[in-house]
Point group: C2
Chain length 193, copies 2
């Protein structure tokens, strides 16, 4: 857990990319299988912009007072629209994890770019599981949940008959994230872009 004992993850994408399912699996991995306090939220309203959707997970060792993300520590973005809409308020040392192909204009933050959708297509034969490739990467990069916990949570939530392909996607995401050298990313919050 980070120093402030509260870790916020925001998942952004467009409708149909499975953002909410990814957030629920992350929440249940941490809450059910690792015993942390977790709140998982989605908000809807007239202000929702241009097809961008988001879901949030707050993880803590303590009881969580406010369940929504205030300054995300990690922001996953699967689409340009979601990155534009929800990528501005990361913590100064936060990490943006983006789909390398779909998100070209990136936040002013440390960015890990991984081609989730392409990996899903090439390794799993379907782009539908790009959300689980991304979740595998997020799980590895946030360092809050064991891979086994993510896998158990995924198996409990994946629609019947899709367990194997989802698991394969999750593992491909972990592998892709392991190739990223976080320590080599630029220091917090420059203005380069």
């Amino acid at each position: 857990m980070t120093d402030q004992d509260r870790y916020e993850i925001r998942f952004g994408g467009s409708g149909g990319q499975g953002i909410i399912l990814a957030a629920i699996v992350m929440a249940e991995a941490a809450g059910i299988y690792e015993g942390k306090h977790v709140c998982q939220t989605q908000s809807y309203g007239p202000e929702a912009r241009g097809g961008a959707s988001k879901a949030e997970v707050v993880i803590s060792n303590e009881v969580i007072d406010y369940p929504k993300a205030l300054r995300p520590n990690l922001f996953l973005s699967m689409s340009q629209a979601s990155c534009d809409a929800y990528g501005a308020d990361l913590t100064p040392d936060g990490l943006a994890v983006v789909d390398e192909t779909l998100v070209r204009h990136r936040p002013h933050a440390r960015v890990a770019a991984i081609p989730f959708t392409r990996i899903a297509r090439e390794k799993c034969g379907t782009e539908v599981v790009a959300n689980m490739v991304a979740l595998g990467a997020v799980g590895h990069l946030c360092r809050l949940v064991k891979p086994k916990s993510l896998e158990k949570a995924l198996l409990a939530r994946a629609p019947k008959g899709t367990e194997e392909v989802n698991l394969k996607a999750l593992r491909a995401g972990v592998r892709a994230a392991k190739k990223i050298d976080i320590s080599a990313l630029p220091a917090p919050a420059g203005e380069e872009d």
Copy 2:
């Protein structure tokens, strides 16, 4: 919308009953198809008791400050454990909507008892869609969303191939709820049980 312009719904059940999906469909019906402000949350933690799980939906015409339910206006309970764990803090004029067969010991509140699981089995051939029978009833009883909005939200969320049976379940739930005469329920919050 109620006088205080904030309506809170809590969904309670046991793992595998599809409580979270029901809450998400309710949230998207109100948020995406009716343009209300909606927050949908689930919390996990070491305090989770005896296999009971819950999900919450807060609906408002205004921006929502605190996204979790404080005093639910409506509490759906699909299992005795969830009713025992989460049924105590309804508003004084709140409504408990319970599975008539599975929840025998009920909150000190106005209660609408409907056999969701039995209806699912008898009308749809599978208990798996009891959550959608319940959602249909909740949608009708809360009077915040049009049946058409619920149906659209459901069709967007139901796993492929299960749209028809889920829709049938939703409609069976609406029909069952229409038979309940809310005005004939006892006045708010006596101590009878």
